[in-house]
């Protein structure tokens, strides 16, 4: 059953010199129990995508399309309605753990806050609940640690705290934005393991530029390039037989495959070339690639790809 169905989602930012398109016509369906990874280079629009679903984009963002959650289009919901969704139905683990926690509140307070807003849990129960959450996320001495402030924790611990905050109200969907970036290898492995356990029977939208994280956690993977989805499929298959040249490039660029970076840089928002957006960097490009913009096409039973080679 589809839990979140995103159709034709586009985002533009209004700036001093006109509007810049950042996301273009995104279609993505997340079923209950799916763990979908959204991968792509930095700056391609992954965070903006997550934020647009949460309706947390700044006021200069223009969002069109639809994001149906439980039959309701979130993009049409009013602020009050969204407040009931955020944290309770859809929770977020924001990127950059160093700055997303409030420096002047104890982490106990910050975890308890979600519970206070969305549940009737108070007093001793609340305290117990927070302790239980911290314990389940492998934070030792929870009684003592919940009195501490964010800066007193390491990056890995802060990530655990963020996960605890997201899990607090037992939401239907969790959007995790770069949960493993900026961590050293050992800690990253621990967090991955932890995420694998706690996300076992949950629905997850995992946003990452790290293919390892995606392949370790996700059941499905969507590849984003310059604000559009270029390939989608079950993670296992997609990583074994990547169809799109960009996906192939990403895999070849990952450290485990020998680190062969894709030449060139992705286009700045609003400055995409005509034809296929990946064309200037594509090793398989042909003449028609620079004129016709490919659409996202189904291939096989459950794969989608945006490339003229598969037309």
């Amino acid at each position: 059953m589809s839990l979140l169905e995103i159709a034709g989602l586009s985002v533009q930012f209004e700036g001093r010199d006109g509007t810049v398109p950042v996301l273009d016509n995104i279609d993505l369906e997340i079923n209950s129990g799916d763990r979908v990874a959204l991968i792509g280079e930095s700056g391609c629009g992954k965070t903006v995508f997550g934020m647009s679903v949460m309706r947390l984009l700044p006021s200069n963002a223009r969002v069109t399309g639809s994001a149906r959650y439980a039959g309701r289009d979130l993009l049409l919901a009013d602020e009050r309605e969204m407040q009931q969704v955020r944290g309770k139905k859809i929770a977020m683990i924001s990127q950059n753990s160093a700055s997303v926690l409030n420096p002047v509140l104890t982490i106990g307070d910050q975890i308890a806050e979600s519970l206070t807003i969305h549940t009737s849990c108070r007093g001793k129960d609340l305290h117990r609940e927070v302790i239980a959450l911290l314990t389940s996320l492998g934070i030792e001495r929870p009684e003592e640690n919940m009195q501490k402030y964010p800066h007193q924790f390491s990056g890995g611990m802060r990530e655990r705290i963020l996960i605890a905050m997201a899990l607090a109200c037992n939401p239907d969907l969790i959007i995790a934005d770069e949960p493993t970036s900026g961590l050293d290898a050992l800690v990253k492995a621990q967090i991955l393991e932890l995420l694998r356990t706690v996300m076992q029977d949950r629905t997850l939208l995992l946003i990452t530029h790290d293919l390892g994280t995606a392949s370790a956690l996700a059941s499905h993977t969507a590849v984003m390039y310059a604000g559009e989805i270029v390939e989608y499929g079950p993670t296992q298959e997609l990583f074994t037989y990547p169809l799109h040249p960009y996906t192939q490039g990403l895999i070849a660029a990952s450290p485990s495959a020998g680190f062969h970076p894709i030449p060139g840089v992705s286009p700045a928002p609003g400055q995409v070339p005509p034809g296929c957006w990946f064309c200037p960097r594509c090793t398989c490009a042909t003449d028609r690639c620079s004129t016709g913009h490919p659409s996202l096409k189904k291939t096989g039973t459950n794969r989608q790809v945006r490339c003229l080679r598969y037309d």
């Binding site: 001093r16 965070t47 903006v48 934020m51 984009l57 700044p58 006021s59 200069n60």
Partner: protein, 273 residues
């Protein structure tokens, strides 16, 4: 109206003030302290803004007074910003022990109140306007050093400065050709806001009697008029012109400073992600 329009309007206003100060002898019909009419004459064709209690021409006093006021405001601001900029760049560029020690010293000096210190020093030395401006500039620079040091520090760490160093540019050259131009927006904005601040302060100091009684400037004109009861006697032409002159230039500088700051340092009025 755009910020740019504000900037140009204030530049135009400032140009008028400067012209008046420069060409004072050609603009003013009389000398600043010359007695040219009977006391308390209301404005007429001979005395554009009337006369004061001893029959001096207020318009001429206003024109000559602009010199003292502008010299104090702009000289002290220029000096203070120059010192802050040099010190800030050197500290930010070299860093290390020197930076550490100077920052400690600045920490110590920071709470020492400049305004009464300036009053004490001027009472002691009894100096002229230029000397007081220098004093003010030196004392005031203490507060500006950090403002320049912080961006200089981050600039010194950028790859492009590393690059300049690797091709053998001397320290002096890097500081003057690479770091300084990049700091110009901050420095300019600081200069404009300091000028406004010091100019108003200069008029204020003069209002409470810092200069000797022979010095004619807007502050002493206002003080003279106010304490002689210009308000209660209804002699508006005596007190309003110097006051409006100060307000005008101060507003122009404030607007310029504000539009500079906004254009160099555009603060998106939205949340970022």
């Amino acid at each position: 109206m755009t910020r740019n329009a504000f900037l140009w309007i204030s530049v135009a206003i400032l140009a008028v003030y400067f012209t008046v100060a420069l060409l004072a002898p050609f603009i003013a019909p009389y000398g600043a302290t010359e007695i040219t009419g009977s006391p308390f004459q209301p404005p007429d064709s001979g005395h554009l803004f009337g006369t004061n209690d001893v029959g001096q021409d207020i318009f001429s006093q206003l024109v000559y007074g602009s010199r003292v006021t502008l010299i104090f405001g702009f000289c002290s601001a220029l000096l203070s910003v120059s010192i802050s900029t040099c010190a800030g760049i050197v500290l930010g560029y070299y860093g290390g022990n020197l930076d550490e020690v100077v920052c400690r010293i600045l920490d110590i000096l920071m709470p020492i109140p400049i305004f009464p210190l300036l009053i004490v020093l001027t009472t002691f030395f009894n100096p002229g306007i230029v000397q007081v401006s220098i004093l003010m500039g030196v004392l005031g620079s203490i507060h500006g050093i950090r403002l320049i040091r912080a961006p200089a520090l981050s600039l010194a760490e950028t790859p492009f400065i590393e690059g300049a160093r690797s091709i053998g540019a001397t320290d002096l050259r890097i500081m003057s050709r690479h770091i300084l131009p990049n700091l110009m927006p901050v420095v300019t904005a600081k200069f404009v806001s300091s000028s406004q601040h010091y100019l108003v302060m200069g008029v204020g100091l003069s209002f409470i009697g810092l200069w000797d009684t022979m010095t004619v400037d807007w502050g002493s004109m206002i003080q003279n008029a106010y304490s002689s009861g210009a308000l209660s006697l209804g002699l508006w032409w005596w007190i309003l012109p110097p006051g409006i002159a100060v307000v005008g230039i101060s507003l122009a500088l404030a607007l310029a400073g504000y539009s500079l700051e906004e254009s160099f340092n555009p603060r998106l009025e939205v949340n970022r992600i």
